[in-house]
């Protein structure tokens, strides 16, 4: 990685993210890779706040705040206008949360990707609607407590697989990444930058506030999500060619779950079942990558 990329800093230190906020770490790395010739479309999410109140801005690139469900469409317009002005160099980046991507903004994203709009869409995934106080989204994992899945009503549905949904669009580039694997994250963001068409990065971004974990555990939990196969690191080109970027050492999901307050109600039996689900998903991914034996 060139040092000018590593050294450049497009996030000011005075942002208002919570201590240990994974979304803020993700932003720092992605902007290092993309550089200052980037225009950001920012639909409603925690980052709408982190970016700072008027007249301040925590980011050193132009930011267009956008309605919650419009990440794909607003970027479509920004790109079109830049192209009309003859500026094909500037990168258009949509930066959205899981709710803004998996749920309310899914149509807009799907439309943009189907049209192969020339932009990068980053979904930082903290697995719930955090801005509004930890409500469940379709990215909330099986087993999780949120403020709308409380008590015995903890979420008993699987997390939507957003990357596979985009792969079904034959998107030129889709990849998962994690704040705990910065080299991999930087490489993928740079790779995306150098491609054309729709590109999607799904970044695992821990949320100490919403997950009921100590802030210093943010990176550790993110690393464990990868090591347990809960959040595998992989990339897909042209919706066909899968590459798995990290070979986990088969850690057990139990460790990951036991460290987080949002899962504390789960029984050993629940965890066994979750382990089985994770194994299944991993097998499926291996098969897609042509690595199944």
């Amino acid at each position: 990685m060139p040092t000018d990329v590593l050294d450049r800093e497009l996030v000011h230190s005075g942002h208002v993210g919570c201590p240990g906020c994974g979304a803020t770490i993700a932003m720092r790395f992605v902007l290092k890779a993309l550089g200052e010739k980037t225009i950001m479309v920012l639909p409603a999410c925690c980052w709408s706040v982190i970016a700072g109140p008027y007249p301040q801005s925590a980011l050193k690139i132009p930011v267009l705040h956008a309605a919650f469900e419009t990440g794909g469409a607003t970027a479509t317009g920004v790109r079109a206008a830049l192209d009309m002005k003859g500026d094909t160099e500037t990168t258009v980046l949509t930066w959205a949360g899981d709710g803004g991507t998996f749920d309310i903004g899914f149509q807009s994203l799907s439309g943009a990707v189907e049209r192969d709009e020339n932009f990068i869409y980053v979904c930082y995934d903290n697995e719930a609607y955090m801005n509004t106080g930890v409500q469940r989204s379709s990215s909330t994992p099986y087993g999780a407590w949120t403020t709308t899945t409380t008590g015995k009503d903890w979420k008993k549905l699987r997390k939507k697989n957003i990357v596979e949904a985009l792969v079904a669009h034959r998107i030129p580039y889709a990849a998962t990444a994690s704040i705990a694997f910065p080299e991999d994250l930087l490489r993928k963001a740079q790779k995306a930058k150098n491609m054309k068409g729709s590109r999607f990065l799904h970044i695992y971004a821990s949320c100490p506030t919403g997950w009921r974990i100590p802030s210093e555990m943010s990176i550790k939990i993110a690393r464990m999500a990868v090591q347990t196969n809960i959040f595998p690191l992989y990339e897909v080109e042209e919706g066909l060619r899968y590459t798995i970027n990290y070979r986990p050492k088969e850690y057990l999901v139990r460790e990951y779950f036991r460290l987080q307050g949002r899962f504390k109600h789960l029984t050993e039996k629940d965890l066994d079942q979750i382990q089985q689900m994770v194994n299944e998903d991993w097998e499926l991914l291996l098969r897609k990558a042509g690595e199944h034996v």
Binding site: Y54, T70, T74, V78, M84, R115
Partner: protein, 389 residues
């Protein structure tokens, strides 16, 4: 050059002449003819513009918000359900001070499905901060659309050009289509007052507390007031080149009129015929056509109506639980003047029902023969409907 054009195509020709750079649209009857032509213009090089074939009206307006924020001229068209779906982003476009221009073909809202004219869709957007102009014929549609860009870009507010479904959108009329060089003289290329620019990074639309928010909203209110003045300037500049002018309102035979119809859209044309017949019978009738609905030209309206005894407001729309929307606006405009006409409200032509000269004359006689209005709005032509609870 005079051409025989559909109302929809009058819009499209104006958009071509305005050299719009980004067009985004989603199909809905009766808006489709506008955007089909524009799509072809973008394909065959008649226009140097990008046509974004988005997956919904909501995304359509979002895309224009994105494009306009980069500093290019933008346009879309929609109707009924499509406009309703855009609602959140209509507030956004105005709040962000983006001079987007949209043609809105008035269509009734479902259920049941009805593609015919009804103004409730656009009037339900009256508080979004969009300038609204209701047009009567193809020429007015073309001229107003060209003017809309200049007005929008002067005050940094979006403009909605409103036209009746079918009666205007699908009706062929002779329309004088100006030459591109003439329009260039009237409408210079868009020079944005602010734009997204990596050389000068700014954040647009950030979190804003009650202090600044209220001040920003007041700025929009001031811009709307300014739009009323600038509308006149734009019309002056247009008239100097093209010799046509419409006014925010048009007063027809109002000077000595005792009863004045208040009309908008194509009902105005029908009413002109009814007026001729009433005048031929010696009736002191007049028409006040309302073109500019937002900003509402209150002072002009008060002035034109000051000598009348009664007004008969024709509403092709309805606010359930209140009354026809133009009637509400007229009452509000008049109530603080010391002497003003009695306001009679009539609901007619809902969901595309025909409003005939006979119906308008019936309204005239009802108004003339009643001392005071029996109701805030009288629904015309309702005979057999009984309330079913």
């Amino acid at each position: 050059m005079k051409r025989v054009l559909e109302g929809s195509h009058a819009v499209a020709e104006a958009v071509r002449l305005a050299k719009v750079q980004v067009i985004s649209a989603y199909p809905i009857t009766p808006q489709t003819h506008i955007v089909e032509i524009l799509s072809q213009y973008c394909t065959n090089g008649t226009m140097k513009a990008k046509f974004l074939r988005v997956e919904s009206e909501h995304s359509c307006m979002a895309a224009l918000i994105g494009a306009q924020s980069v500093g290019v001229r933008t346009f879309t068209a929609t109707s009924g359900q499509g406009l309703a779906l855009m609602h959140e982003l209509l507030h956004w476009a105005a709040g962000a001070r983006l001079p987007i221009v949209m043609a809105e073909v008035n269509r009734a809202l479902a259920p049941g499905w009805n593609i015919w004219v009804d103004q409730t869709d656009s009037l339900a957007q009256r508080d979004t901060g969009w300038i609204q102009m209701y047009c009567e014929d193809g020429q007015e549609v073309l001229d107003s659309t060209i003017q809309a860009f200049l007005l929008a870009e002067t005050v940094n507010l979006p403009v909605m050009i409103v036209l009746d479904a079918f009666y205007l959108s699908h009706t062929y009329e002779p329309v004088d289509v100006p030459e591109p060089e003439e329009v260039d003289r009237f409408l210079p290329p868009f020079a944005p007052k602010f734009q997204l620019d990596t050389a000068q990074p700014c954040a647009f639309g950030s979190l804003v507390g009650p202090g600044d928010y209220m001040d920003m909203r007041y700025q929009i209110a001031l811009a709307m007031d300014d739009a009323l003045i600038r509308f006149g300037d734009v019309e002056d500049a247009f008239a100097a080149l093209f010799n046509r002018r419409y006014g925010p309102v048009e007063a027809i035979d109002c000077a000595d009129a005792e009863i004045i119809f208040i009309t908008s859209g194509t009902v105005t044309s029908t009413c002109r015929l009814a007026l001729q017949e009433l005048r031929a019978q010696g009736e002191k009738a007049g028409i006040l056509k309302i073109k500019l609905f937002r900003p509402f030209p209150v002072d002009r309206i008060r002035k034109e109506l000051q000598a009348a005894k009664k007004i008969a407001v024709i509403d092709r729309n309805f606010s359930f639980g209140a009354s026809g929307i133009f009637a509400q606006e007229l009452r509000a405009a008049l109530c603080n003047t010391p002497r003003h006409p009695v306001v009679f409200g009539y609901v007619a032509g809902i969901g595309g029902r025909d409003v005939t000269p006979e119906l308008l004359k019936e309204i005239y006689w009802l108004t003339k023969n009643s001392e005071v209005p029996q109701k805030e709005s009288i629904w015309m032509g309702i005979q057999e409907v009984k309330y079913a609870d």
